[in-house]
Subunit: 355 residues, 4 copies
């Protein structure tokens, strides 16, 4: 990590970047109000930091050994003017801002009618962003894989529905991108690109998605520790894209006997991650619990834990859904959830600020 002097010139900064490249690494340049910090991307162990320390305009040069440094709180602290948390703007919506953000919609897009009906419902219920799965990752090749499995034309048609529904109901839209070849197409039609839990470790997909420059919602793999989760988020940041929305969606349950929830929702990861990084973190209680009767409580709990928002699966008629009907709630139930969560958020913020 190279910390530049307050008055370092553009040329001095460019010179440092050039030197970094000469040693085979890439550079991440973060300009704060008064100060510029340059992160090194790659293996720093062979870098002669004493050489960098004496370059013109350099205040300090030192090695950082954590696997996530570009997204770490340590790093951002050095940049004066940087706030407590990064706010990611999607249209007029602010993720990581003063209010919790609610992403809602069906698990899978099934038809134009279904999507528009649900979009209208979630808008009325107070949601801010519309979700709808088109390329569905599934545990079995014999299950419905989303309309995206029908070929590029069918996928594009479903994407236009999502785009149109977003326009009509004034909701930014998000969908999951599962493979590298889908990235360009999906990026054309959506405001946020989602990387699902199963693809968290897929570093080639991560790099390709990050390069589109759009905000990325990045889900934790169900077998990943927090350190691994953040280390893979770093793959996104290393491509120069820090508009990363982290998302906790449950980890593998432990213990013998039958499971009462699909995964174990790790809510303490929310404040723990917030101490490590300035990126916002959301929670998906739908996939985590797999049970619609637990959504109300676990949504409230996630907000109480400090989450910047929720991603909730909603269907106007859950029992008829093609995928995950048992975990989707109705727009009316979503309204109750949002209302309770907003009140809890206020309480938490005021309770915290007293301290």
């Amino acid at each position: 990590m190279i910390i530049m002097e307050a008055g370092a010139t553009k040329e001095q900064i460019e010179n440092v970047v050039k030197e970094i490249k000469r040693f085979g690494l890439r550079a991440d340049v973060s300009r704060g109000e008064y100060r510029t910090v340059i992160g090194l991307i790659g293996d720093e162990r062979e870098i002669p930091f004493e050489h960098f320390a004496v370059l013109p305009g350099v205040k300090e040069a030192r090695m950082v050994e954590t696997p996530y440094k570009l997204i770490s709180r340590e790093y951002t602290k050095l940049i004066e003017g940087a706030g407590e948390r990064m706010v990611i703007k999607v249209g007029s919506i602010e993720i990581g801002g003063a209010e919790p953000v609610f992403i809602a919609g069906p698990c899978a897009v099934e038809s134009k009618e279904q999507l528009f009906q649900i979009a209208e419902g979630v808008k009325k219920a107070g949601a801010h962003i519309l979700r709808g799965g088109i390329f569905k990752p599934r545990s079995s090749v014999h299950s419905f894989q989303g309309l995206g499995a029908g070929g590029w034309e069918e996928a594009e048609e479903a994407l236009t529905w999502l785009y149109d529904a977003g326009k009509k109901f004034e909701l930014p839209v998000i969908t999951e991108v599962r493979g590298e070849t889908q990235v360009d197409l999906v990026a054309e039609y959506t405001d946020i690109l989602q990387i699902g839990a199963r693809n968290m470790y897929d570093q080639d997909l991560l790099a390709k998605v990050a390069r589109k420059g759009k905000p990325v919602l990045f889900k934790r793999h169900f077998g990943a520790g927090i350190e691994e989760f953040l280390s893979f988020a770093e793959y996104l940041a290393a491509e120069g894209n820090k508009a990363i929305i982290l998302c906790e969606r449950g980890i593998i349950p432990i213990g013998k006997g039958k499971n009462y929830t699909r995964y174990t929702l790790d809510l303490a990861a929310v404040p723990a991650i917030q101490k490590e990084t300035y990126l916002p973190i959301m929670v998906d209680p739908s996939h985590a619990t797999g049970r619609r009767d637990l959504i109300f409580n676990m949504s409230c709990a996630a907000i109480a834990a400090g989450a910047s928002g929720l991603m909730i699966e909603v269907h106007h008629s859950p029992q008829e859904a093609l995928v995950d009907g048992q975990q989707m709630i109705t727009p009316e139930e979503l309204n109750d959830v949002i209302s309770a969560c907003q009140k809890i958020h206020k309480l938490i913020v005021s309770g915290r600020s007293k301290k």
Copy 2:
């Protein structure tokens, strides 16, 4: 399970119990307002239920195969007059009642002065029950094992402090009992007996503790699934003691890399368990996270998830504590926690009742 007719006589009930014993099993007799239900304790697979079905006063006789039946919601539903949740009274405190209950105090009792100072603090902060560890289970034989390790006399002295502090500050008291030989002594001085996570599977200890007839706070082992947790709570109920307060305190973290929380707090277990049993469930955020900076958020989250109360470690001077200083909060911080939790509880109850 034997369901008696509405007007079954005492003799008829006793006759059924006698028959159950004749087949080598024990009986659990639950008398509701109008109806009596008799649970069989032991292996029902060889029981001739058709024989029981025709005994005088018997309405229905059938096998129940779940490993927890005496504490199951199914079972209690049959008893008319039984409420949605069992309320366990400890003095004037109601656990599982209308308000969340807060158990607070030091991880380990260190001295009379320390205990009284903390007891005064937690009372002022609004806590309802005083905790203090005397027999401490520890991962290393080379760590401080609590004053109980000093011999019976020292243990009894520490217990009298706990008893006296409870009397002085009008707080029922609870401490952990770790081995069978400690049960009689501890039961003399405390209002609730605690069985710690590490002893969850210790069925001989469970039986001995249950037979004291006092309320038992029963913690989930960090390697136990929900089914196992409830199956071992059944060992307590099988001794005729259903004043069982369940407690979630975190399970083994999953994933590679360093742990950011000591255990993984499984908050979705709270509503999931409430669907299975009528017993109240509390949450211990202190042992689960091991981090005082996460206690406020995770306490609020636990109450939002529906917990009947919290067990929180408090010390007037955490940095001087002999055990677990890094996870204890001050009485002032406890006050903030209780205040926020009570408001969230109200929100949750009213948000839920709308539905």
Copy 3:
């Protein structure tokens, strides 16, 4: 699943396939010596099997609900002439055959000299197939990512070294393919394509790799249960490629405290998986343990458990390796491992055949 009559004609089979497609599913046609079995790929729940049962040449038509059916032992049993285990031929090497197969080589290809030196060493030690990583999946973007990270030209150069080393020392070669865009290039130069543990869930990569028609070594993700592992192997089979070599390489360790092995090697998965599928399963003790001092014992244990072979990381000078030096053994140590494993394999086969 459609079981054809013994004398079913080509036209009858084609007709069944056409009908399957008409219902929106794909067909997997397995021709045995006397009988042909047609598996349905996709969601069978809406299929009118009674309609298929009366098509000309059809003996039986029924639903199979397991998530892995094309690779299941059940399925292959129906095909007369199919043996106990599928033998996958790579040149003259038989994986799943009478003798255990040893894949060996460096974790990462570092230079032509390094690769040729190690290739010579492992050939002398008795290994059958040469491995060498070019596209390395890594937990940190700041670690060495393999020569493949240097761009397509550098990747292709490293692949030609691998190809040439294979030719020179008469060893088929294998390397990992990490992203969809790498598949075509890697398939040109290698005999077996490896899908690493981190990519196990990456179904788009799986489909693309399978379609190349070459044998695939498919590693279990460290967070995956056996059922999930086999369900994702089914994604490969669903593309018509059943030359799948499964590979156990360790799962996430459980329990508090420091880890003594990098992952937990799940050797009982070896015989358990062999009861489920006819595919061969190998073991990678290097990544599982991360410790060169455990390789000898765990290699022997894997063969004793019934593995069809081992994948072992070897370096002529482990302490100088760029990646994973602490888990690589020397060619001399490999020789001891192979020699002991071959003897144990004989003992196991003869001990088993007595029964």
Copy 4:
């Protein structure tokens, strides 16, 4: 840890022990051929080692911070004359010696006839020690709890059968002790006391069992990491009893979907533990897999991994067993297992000694 000079007198040693007690700790005195090492039991952090360093006869005094030091390889290395591994003698049987040891018998003692019939069978099959459960730990209070659950008289009768069967067939005997009140009785009739996986954390039971002075077979809890396992074995050693036979019996399976083995047998723990401690470690493939069809392979694998022996459940008629019939093998099958294991052991020892 206090290392005495070669010629330190008995008085000097006693003086050091006295000093240790004065500081509130206990002492573990290990006399080697030439040297005596004194381990401190308790929290060493406040101990003034410089004070001990100058006591007469003391060569060196220093703090050891690992949670297991009395059983660590580090510690024993200091004692000249101590071998590579501790050999625990039970009658003429040597556990941890030149040959693997086989403990076999029924999961639960059901009757005198059953026990004698099986004892005869396992003796003929080549087993060295007879096992038979009397106090059975069970997940459900509604399952058969062993004859020990019938009261002290019934328990004692079953223990006499075990004792008599041992005498008749010249097999030392072992049974599990589950609660503190059972220890005295069980110790009267058995040669080895077993502490089961579920009681691994029960430090009061451990202390009581260790004090009987008999060899203890100590099983790893299914949720315990290796460090925790060894830290609790240290509780036994801290009572002055180092005749500890460790036993790996499977840990909680990871991953979604159905389990193919009851637990995950962690065989790499065997050599990993042997690097840490001089205590012998055995493996129980019966409880780990829960499947009789995997016993042959996993027994061979355990011996290949370096285990000092196996504990295997055997029944003359597994399908009629009251407990765990699906995992028990017949005496004939045991004979095949022992025969193959003995050959593999020879191979491993000779393969290793080459290096």
